[in-house]
């Protein structure tokens, strides 16, 4: 009940109405969302492939991660803000959408996978920095990250086909 009320309050907010009523607002925010997620996935993929042993422009994994992570974070922040605005435009419909719920779960799982990696294999990165292929635990982190982010893209696209729009 409280959640439903909150979702309805979001729907009734001026910003929500503004996005719904301005014809170009939704597509423009969506475009920023696509730019952001392609930059998130594009940079993460380079790192994940390195974790699997496929080198890019650097042999060392540590330097590559340090170099690309800031871009991933900026893009992720843009994805969260733009995604947040899309959600705000129709909070009850998104909250009730199974693909949207699963997408949030997949993002959370990708976050946990990253935390585990940083808490374990990344602490010993000096030992495997230039190894190709890297140790199995590192490869596992890379594969899980790739699978989860690809899943996020698929689920995100599916929302567009399954959302019950209440305009």
């Amino acid at each position: 009940m409280t959640l439903e009320l909150t979702l309805q309050q979001i729907y009734d907010s001026p910003i929500s109405a503004a996005i719904r009523e301005n014809t170009n607002a939704f597509p423009i925010i969506e475009t920023f969302h696509v730019i952001a997620i392609t930059a998130v996935l594009g940079t993460i993929m380079i790192v994940d492939l390195r974790l699997l042993g496929f080198t890019s422009h650097r042999r060392g994994a540590n330097r590559l991660i340090a170099e690309l992570l800031p871009y991933t974070w900026v893009a992720f922040a843009l994805a969260v803000v733009s995604g947040g605005l899309l959600f705000v435009s129709n909070a009850p419909a998104y909250a009730a959408n199974v693909e949207f719920q699963l997408k949030l779960v997949a993002i959370a799982a990708a976050g946990i996978n990253m935390l585990i990696f940083h808490g374990t294999a990344y602490r010993r990165i000096a030992d495997w920095d230039t190894d190709t292929p890297p140790p199995t635990s590192v490869k596992v982190s890379g594969v899980i990250s790739l699978i989860l982010w690809v899943t996020v893209i698929f689920l995100g696209r599916w929302i567009g086909f399954t959302l019950d729009v209440l305009f």
């Binding site: 597509p27 969506e30 475009t31 696509v34 730019i35 997620i37 392609t38 930059a39 996935l41 594009g42 940079t43 993460i44 993929m45 380079i46 080198t55 890019s56 422009h57 650097r58 170099e67 690309l68 871009y71 690809v150 893209i153 698929f154 696209r157 599916w158 567009g160 086909f161």
Partner: protein, 158 residues
């Protein structure tokens, strides 16, 4: 045959009908299309920021281009195939749409520009081999790919 009547003919073909009526085909192909765009955005971001003098400036441009250009070519092939499926499935939404043709124009320009100014870098020895306008061209590439995404999303709304 006009573009419209070609679109109508394509729409009526069995393959177009199958693509449209099989519920998972369009969302799946669109998802793969976005994944391929992500490969281009990641590869172009690293390559062009290098050429703009911002990222990995200790690495020779030739090495960077050698790593990422094949990924861009591969992704372009996937984009062409998945894009073709989407056109066949929904001809009216695409070939009758001005934004679609603007997108095709920008993609073709980016493709040609890559052949002209990026492919030669594969054999460039160091920074001195870079063209004089390397930095503006690097930003132009990033702008073009951004515009492609913009048009791609707006095809659905025009």
């Amino acid at each position: 045959m006009s573009v419209e009547s070609f679109g109508d003919w394509l729409y009526a073909t069995p393959i177009s009908t199958t693509f449209r009526e099989t519920v998972w085909i369009i969302p799946t192909v669109q998802s793969i299309h976005i994944l391929a765009i992500a490969v281009i955005v990641g590869s172009a971001l690293v390559s062009e920021l290098r050429l703009a003098g911002i990222l990995a400036t200790d690495q020779a441009p030739a090495g960077i281009v050698r790593r990422y250009l094949p990924r861009i070519w591969g992704a372009l092939v996937v984009l062409l195939i998945t894009g073709l499926v989407l056109v066949v499935a929904e001809p009216a939404r695409t070939i009758n749409n001005t934004v679609f043709w603007i997108k095709m124009g920008i993609v073709s320009s980016a493709f040609l520009l890559t052949l002209i100014v990026r492919k030669p870098l594969l054999v460039a020895a160091d920074d001195t081999d870079l063209a004089v306008n390397a930095k503006p061209v690097a930003w132009l590439f990033l702008l073009m790919w951004t515009a492609v995404i913009f048009c791609g999303r707006f095809i659905a709304y025009t």
